[in-house]
Point group: C2
Chain length 344, copies 2
DNA sequence: CAACGTTGTTACAACGTTATAAATCAAATG
DNA sequence: CATTTGATTTATAACGTTGTAACAACGTTG
């Protein structure tokens, strides 16, 4: 059996192993490892070489335990939502840039938000970033009493005490989508909504107000939908059995839009020739070569940056209380599922 | 500004705050909190009530630091792969049941496997579970010299020193798919492969050997593909421009199969009437109501359980060295994308 | 009544790191 | 040469928890 490390007893090497090896004191080794100023170039090099040799690796737990600050931000996300995947990716980058680390905790069918958050708290996160949390506002407020909490993509109304909100302007996004469709010549534009999902109400509102703005109040039509492909497919089937088909559909999100596209495809209804379809999120689904979905981009990178900087501001005590809600303007990404309606 | 906790100075309450509140010693409070045997019912209740009152929450970092064992298993996964989402979910459960916790570290476009693993090591994980790792075998061996490493879904040949492998029998899965199609009456069965992706070679082999077994060696046909919808779509387009169309397609995975389905749909080729399609993974994509893809199930739950128990066995020194590679038999899930071929 | 388990509780030291303050030393000053 | 300065380095004490061993308090036993 091969030895598992360069240190005799087989345990993972510690700072004092490192210091011994380099022939310096423990604190000095510590300073070198964390890049503090002080150590001379000579010591620095000696320690770093020794670290190489014995494969030393700082123990972040001990590190965090000692320093009052943990520089750790907990992120609760849903493994199933592609938009969350984009967010997590952007959060890694944003947090890193701000000098913070990220701890992930997933919500799944068998792991509740409660459990996910408990784990993050036990890990001594200094702040929480929750991606579209479903927890009741009261629960969020309770958490916010303990540490900074940022709710991403979930609007809180009225502003919950201590909870920051970072979200896309969902209403504005829906409006842009409608404007685009109207500009193309569409009038019968249907919205498949997201029910009670975070953001759904705003998108609904944006849709309605844009329709109204274009004098299409009497054409407003909402179909109950949801977040998944199945919801979109079901809604589309409903629409097809109808007497008057719309010429354009604004789906709650990309997933839902994909379901719609699939149903239309099966029904031999050409997109965008006969019906235009718009999604929401600009997740990687929308970018797939064979999908090329026109969609409303949520700017994951921006949202992530703002969420992190919000949390950091709170932690470093520079929180301006008038910025409790950060709203990022989405923008329409026009691909190949929208076009002027054909004359009927 | 509301106070952030029940302890005067605003910091998070510690064991000694708790002990003070309950009027007992720190070690006793500790014993109660971790459910050790010893404390009397009376003390137990007193401590627990105090914990409630001041909102005490154990600090897992300190806990892990103190106990030589961390009971923490690091999981490296890819945010983009739905199969990984299923695995992570199953891993949470499997690890929990074994008395271990999980630390997640995602691989993304901008975060390499190297970085992901570094983070896990710094977190003091006792073992690593890597989901379809792409790292070279030498790198894995290097890691395995430091701690138990389990590679899931990525075969290592020859068995790399110290690295355990848990995988589905990819060849057997492909074979089952072919058997199913042949039983339905198909003969022209094409395989869209996964190139150099983990498992791809085995699936290719399984496909070929099954075809041979059914006396269809001359019908063997491989089309280069990949892991994404785009790969599947591209491969399908290639097939359609061909003179002789197959009657069935075995795709590398579900994602790829969805791309195939989409292309067929657009080309107005009815599935399964004219062409049958089989995927691989049984990810939730396959289960969508409008997809209902026949696919080879990878048994995420089993794989997760085996991966965890493998890692745990190593940690607790009960590793039987003859079980370096655990192979789980996949099973075909028949849904609605396969049917007997129509007479041409 | 002394010796003895039991049961419950506690003091103490340790885990691996970092913050603080004190110590060392060479070079530079008066 | 004594003294100050500044740059390095070090000793010491934490951080919040748990393992160990010791300690009471108690009724049991011989």
């Amino acid at each position: 059996m091969p030895s598992r490390s360069a240190v005799p007893d087989g345990k993972r090497p510690t700072l004092s192993d490192l210091a011994a090896r380099a022939g310096v004191s423990v604190p000095l080794a510590s300073m070198v490892m964390r890049g503090a100023k002080g150590p001379s170039a000579a010591s620095r090099e000696r320690v770093l070489r020794a670290a190489q040799e014995i494969g030393y690796r700082p123990d972040s737990r001990a590190r965090l335990l000692r320093s009052s600050r943990s520089h750790l931000v907990g992120v609760q996300f849903d493994l199933r939502q592609p938009f969350h995947a984009d967010m997590v990716e952007a959060l890694y980058a944003a947090a890193g840039a701000a000098g913070y680390q990220i701890a992930l905790s997933a919500v799944t069918a068998s792991r509740s938000e409660q459990e996910a958050v408990e784990a993050l708290l036990a890990d001594r996160c200094e702040a929480l970033i929750l991606l579209s949390p479903h927890a009741p506002a009261a629960r969020l407020a309770e958490l916010a009493a303990q540490l900074p909490v940022v709710s991403v993509a979930r609007r809180l109304r009225p502003l919950t005490d201590g909870v920051d909100v970072v979200r896309a302007a969902d209403d504005e996004g829906a409006r842009q989508a409608v404007d685009h469709l109207v500009a193309l010549g569409h009038r019968d534009i249907v919205h498949i909504d997201g029910g009670r999902a975070p953001g759904a109400a705003d998108r609904r509102r944006g849709y309605k107000s844009a329709m109204k703005h274009h004098g299409l109040t009497d054409r407003v039509r909402l179909v109950p939908g949801g977040l998944t492909e199945d919801h979109g497919a079901a809604a589309a089937r409903t629409l097809l059995t109808d007497s008057s088909r719309p010429t354009a559909i604004l789906a709650f999100n990309d997933h839902c839009a994909i379901g719609v596209l699939d149903t239309l495809l099966r029904a031999r209804i050409p997109v965008p020739d006969e019906i235009s379809v718009v999604g929401f999120d600009d997740s990687h689904l929308a970018r797939l070569a064979h999908v090329q979905l026109t969609t409303v981009g949520q700017e994951a990178r921006q949202l992530a940056r703002r969420a992190v900087s919000r949390a950091v501001a709170r932690l470093e005590g520079e929180a301006a209380d008038d910025e409790r809600e950060v709203v990022v303007t989405p923008h329409l990404v026009i691909r190949s599922t929208t076009r002027a309606p054909c004359r009927s």
